[in-house]
């Protein structure tokens, strides 16, 4: 059934004859669905971050801000050129690939052997520049992109499924699968994994490690660029969104295990579902509390993360 206007995140079902318990379980199921569907984007963005970390041992503090640039590019494409974000995400991914390449070649390459603190500060500098250039260019007002399907929804019994979320989820999952195909089935992907596993060994067997680093960083940025474009029909965004997204990506990647691709993938779904359920049981403004608590618990008791192999 098609619904007019934008549906709210969690909506009470039309069924009338339900008791308190039934109503709550429907709310929970609804939260699970919408969290899971949103989780695809979280997974894609975390996969990009963990790829960069896994290969270079550099934490991309500008990850969320790169994502915001993906969002604004999708917005520009939609409003100026009339390209639907579900098509435009390809362009956004390509543009972020180039940005990632430039940042890696110009800056990250120079500090790859520097102490962690220096790397963190450099990426923090990049994050500040990206976020505030976006603020200058696009202004602080929240934006949202309308897709052709962003107003449709289907009812599954008493449960409500947002078609835009469904499509975003599907595309994000397909992109994550494509990435693992690239990493595990192509020569370039194999050399990326080799360099991640043992840079010196990869160098010895003739891998161009510098090139591999640049490509890994660019692919990571492309992931987050696509993820940015794909969420634009679902949630509003503004330049300051980047910081939250960076922090959320770090949460996911640590919960899943730094450098672990399956960890990032599962972690993304897990954190999204946890936040969504947090919004059901606590106030919506407190949903982030759930993922931070999850992070602190994981940091303290299993710092290697759910799928990580080595402790920090």
């Amino acid at each position: 059934m098609a619904q007019g206007g934008r549906p709210p995140e969690v909506r009470l079902p039309p069924a009338q004859g339900l008791g308190e318990g039934g109503r709550l379980s429907i709310l929970v199921a609804q939260g699970l669905i919408s969290g899971l569907l949103f989780g695809g984007v979280y997974s894609l963005m975390a996969v990009g971050l963990t790829l960069i970390f896994g290969v270079m041992r550099v934490v991309n503090f500008a990850h969320g801000d790169m994502m915001v640039w993906g969002m604004y590019l999708a917005w520009l494409l939609a409003t100026r050129v009339g390209v639907d974000p579900y098509v435009g995400f390809v362009v956004c991914a390509a543009a972020l690939f180039v940005l990632g390449l430039a940042v890696q070649r110009g800056l990250v390459n120079r500090i790859i052997d520097a102490p962690h603190e220096m790397q963190i500060l450099l990426m923090l500098g990049v994050a500040l520049v990206l976020e505030n250039v976006a603020l200058l260019v696009f202004g602080p007002e929240p934006q949202r992109v309308r897709s052709a399907i962003s107003t449709s929804a289907v009812w599954l019994g008493p449960l409500f499924i947002d078609v835009a979320r469904l499509v975003t989820f599907a595309v994000a999952i397909v992109l994550s699968l494509l990435l693992s195909f690239f990493l595990f089935r192509t020569d370039l992907g194999r050399s990326i994994r080799a360099a991640a596993d043992n840079p010196y060994g990869a160098l010895v067997i003739g891998t161009d490690v510098r090139r591999v680093y640049a490509i890994a960083f660019a692919v990571g940025a492309a992931c987050v660029g696509a993820a940015g474009a794909l969420v634009t029909p679902i949630v509003p965004f503004q330049p300051t969104t980047g910081l939250q997204l960076s922090v959320t990506s770090f949460n996911i990647v640590i919960i899943g295990g730094m450098g672990s691709l399956p960890g990032a993938f599962v972690g993304g779904l897990l954190v999204s579902v946890a936040e969504s359920l947090g919004a059901v049981f606590l106030a919506p403004s407190m949903k982030e509390l759930v993922s931070f608590s999850l992070l602190i618990v994981v940091l303290l008791f299993r710092p290697a993360g759910l799928f990580g192999r080595r402790a920090p």
């Binding site: 923090l124 505030n132 940091l299």
Partner: protein, 316 residues
Amino acid sequence: MRWAALAGVLILVALPAVLSSYLLSVFIFIFFYAFLGQAWNIVGGYAGQLSAGHAAFVGIGAYVSAILSQQVGLTPWLGMFVGGAVAAVLGAVIGYLGFRFGLRGFYFVLLTVAFAEVCRIAVGNLEVTGGAIGYYISFTGNPWQFQFQDNRAHYYITLTLMLLATGVAWLVERRRLGAYLAAIREDEEAAEALGVNAFRYKLTAMVISSFLTGVGGTFYAFYLLSLQPNSVFGIPLSVDIIIRPIVGGTGTLLGPILGSFILSPLAELSRHYLGQGGWAGAHLIAYGILLILVVLFIPQGAYPYLKSLVSGRSNG
């Protein structure tokens, strides 16, 4: 060196006689951030533990003393120590968790960020703190309430705070603690192998640093008279705190002060001139570029760099 420092302090004490009220507020800004940077420097610089959540201690100190003064009637002159103590307890908790479980580098950064974010969200959802709308202090101009009609009072308070934190950092540097912290910062395994209890000294540094930062929160609250969880607990304030010692030189006595004298006027000028014409984020772009340049070209910071220039010249 000692005479130069004394002369510098005397000039700063005499300066309000000739400053316009606008310049006075710029100096307040410089001193306050130099103070926060110096407090951070004890754990972030000397101990080398990159805490990226120091805004939380400002926020806790600010809310505690503000609520105590408005609800209980306790004067902020005492409330500032209560705020500092609460911040120190939380600093001890977060330091205990982080250091006990051996979190280093990026993991410690994230733990501190997560801690500050949890505080921000919690305070934004509590009733006693005014929630997301914020907490407001009515202006009375009563010095007993830490409120002053004359901006020169704020000038001397922030100058005192800056000198106090610098004095503490100087003590840390000169005592055994400073030597232990330097050893831990340079090579923690080696320091532990020589019998330095890294956990204990890192925790000590964290407690001193969070106490001082919490005390600073009282000034923040009663200078601005309004507290919003997003600004006082936010990541941007944490960045503001750490960027000055980093630019000036971490783990040095004058680094945070030099950093604040470089960056605070820059921030103030760009906020003042660029902030009006829709150039809201311009000073943060400048911060970002500066951070990148410092990391690439003078990673040790401006103060050690200048010092090496001067000594290089006198030797050669």
